[in-house]
């Protein structure tokens, strides 16, 4: 076992335990748990048998296996960042709605008193 194996094993076990805890706390549903479980399992698989990435590379028409992993990861990361952005944007809009309603109702009650 090389250092990289130890690091990957530790990281994957940590990430999976976190995912499991979040499932138990009800913060994520089963489908999301399965998704993340599969993602972390794939990380472990690639860590232990880097050769499998060659299959992906051949399929995508990329020379080296490790390159294909990097490319796919970047695409996934971009997508996740986009999703996070959209979530934040929605949150901001919801905050505005709350602030707006409060401001208007405060204003109306103040006006009613006058």
């Amino acid at each position: 076992m090389t250092t990289i194996h130890i690091v990957i094993t530790a990281f994957v076990l940590f990430a999976m335990s976190r995912t499991f805890l979040r499932l138990r706390e009800g913060e994520i549903n089963k489908a999301q748990f399965v998704f993340w479980f599969v993602v972390w399992s794939l990380v472990a698989v690639v860590g232990y048998w880097p050769g499998v990435t060659q299959t992906l590379a051949d399929f995508l028409g990329i020379d080296r296996g490790i390159d294909s992993v990097v490319y796919v990861s970047i695409v996934i990361l971009f997508y996740l960042v986009y999703r996070a952005y959209v979530k934040i944007e929605h949150l901001e809009q919801d905050i505005t709605k709350v602030v707006r309603e409060e401001a208007i109702s405060e204003f109306s009650s103040k006006n009613a008193k006058d």
């Binding site: 944007e89 809009q93 905050i95 505005t96 707006r100 409060e102 401001a103 208007i104 204003f107």
Partner: protein
């Protein structure tokens, strides 16, 4: 033959069809009742100038004013409250879009027939309000944009450039051309204001309004207005960085919806 009585449009209009035609023709010259125009002013840290803006509006005869204090850190709220205007205060700063949305919502709930948005930094001329409100009053348009670019006098070149970039971005994203998408002086009829769906919180709201005009197929008219650029209003305006950020947020909105 007895001398003809001079026509008195105001009193005779509803009763005579002839006068109705005259009324239609010359409506342009008739002053709009200023109380029917609700002026919405979003303000964030404008304590230094909002007093001047409000007193010039009052001097111009406008009484129906809503100021939205967007969680300012300065005395904007206190200054605005010292005038007899309606002041709504956000507990948290939400940005131009958020404040504009709140002001419009309040104006709608108060049942105002015409809503005019007006910047708090003193860059608009009070006499332009009638100009933008007139097409709404005459039912010629649902939305009127006061364009500062039809008459560029007094506008620094980099401002012109920024505005053009803003217009191009709006055109690329939403497919509608407007000569001044970033203008703060606009007029809406009550019906069109009710239909508008403003989601964005920040500067991108200006372009979002243009998008909504297209989506809802509203009739838009552009009216040339004056831009008063003082050192103050220039320092408060959008920087290139804000422009770029706004563009990316618009792009994101385009992808989201």
């Amino acid at each position: 033959m007895p001398p003809r009585a001079s026509p008195r449009l105001e009193t005779e209009f509803p009763f005579s069809p002839v006068n109705a035609i005259i009324y239609e023709r010359f409506m342009h010259f008739m002053p709009i009742s200023k109380s029917k125009i609700c002026i919405v002013i979003p303000a964030y840290n404008e304590g230094g100038v909002i007093g001047n803006v409000l007193s010039s509006l009052k001097k111009g005869g406008y009484e129906n004013i809503i100021v939205v204090d967007d969680g300012s850190n300065d005395d904007t709220y206190r200054v605005a409250n010292s005038y007899t205007v309606r002041v709504i205060r956000h507990n948290l700063n939400r940005g131009l879009g958020g404040a504009l949305g709140t002001g419009m919502e309040a104006a709608i709930r108060l049942g105002n027939e015409m809503i005019v948005t007006f910047d708090a930094d003193g860059q608009h001329a009070v006499h332009d309000i009638e100009k933008v409100a007139l097409p709404i009053y005459q039912k010629k348009a649902d939305v009127v944009i006061g364009s500062r670019l039809k008459n560029r006098a007094g506008m620094p070149w980099y401002r012109v450039l920024m505005n053009i970039l803003g217009n191009v971005a709006t055109y690329m994203l939403f497919g509608i051309w407007c000569s001044d998408t970033q203008s703060g002086l606009r007029a809406f009829s009550l019906e069109s204001a009710k239909k508008l769906h403003i989601r964005s919180n920040r500067m991108e709201v200006s372009s979002e309004i243009i998008r909504e005009i297209k989506r809802l197929d509203l009739k838009m008219i552009e009216v040339s207005i004056q831009a008063i650029y003082t050192e103050y209003s220039l320092s408060k305006g959008q920087s290139l960085l804000t422009g770029i950020k706004t563009f990316f947020r618009l792009l994101l909105h385009r992808l989201m919806h």
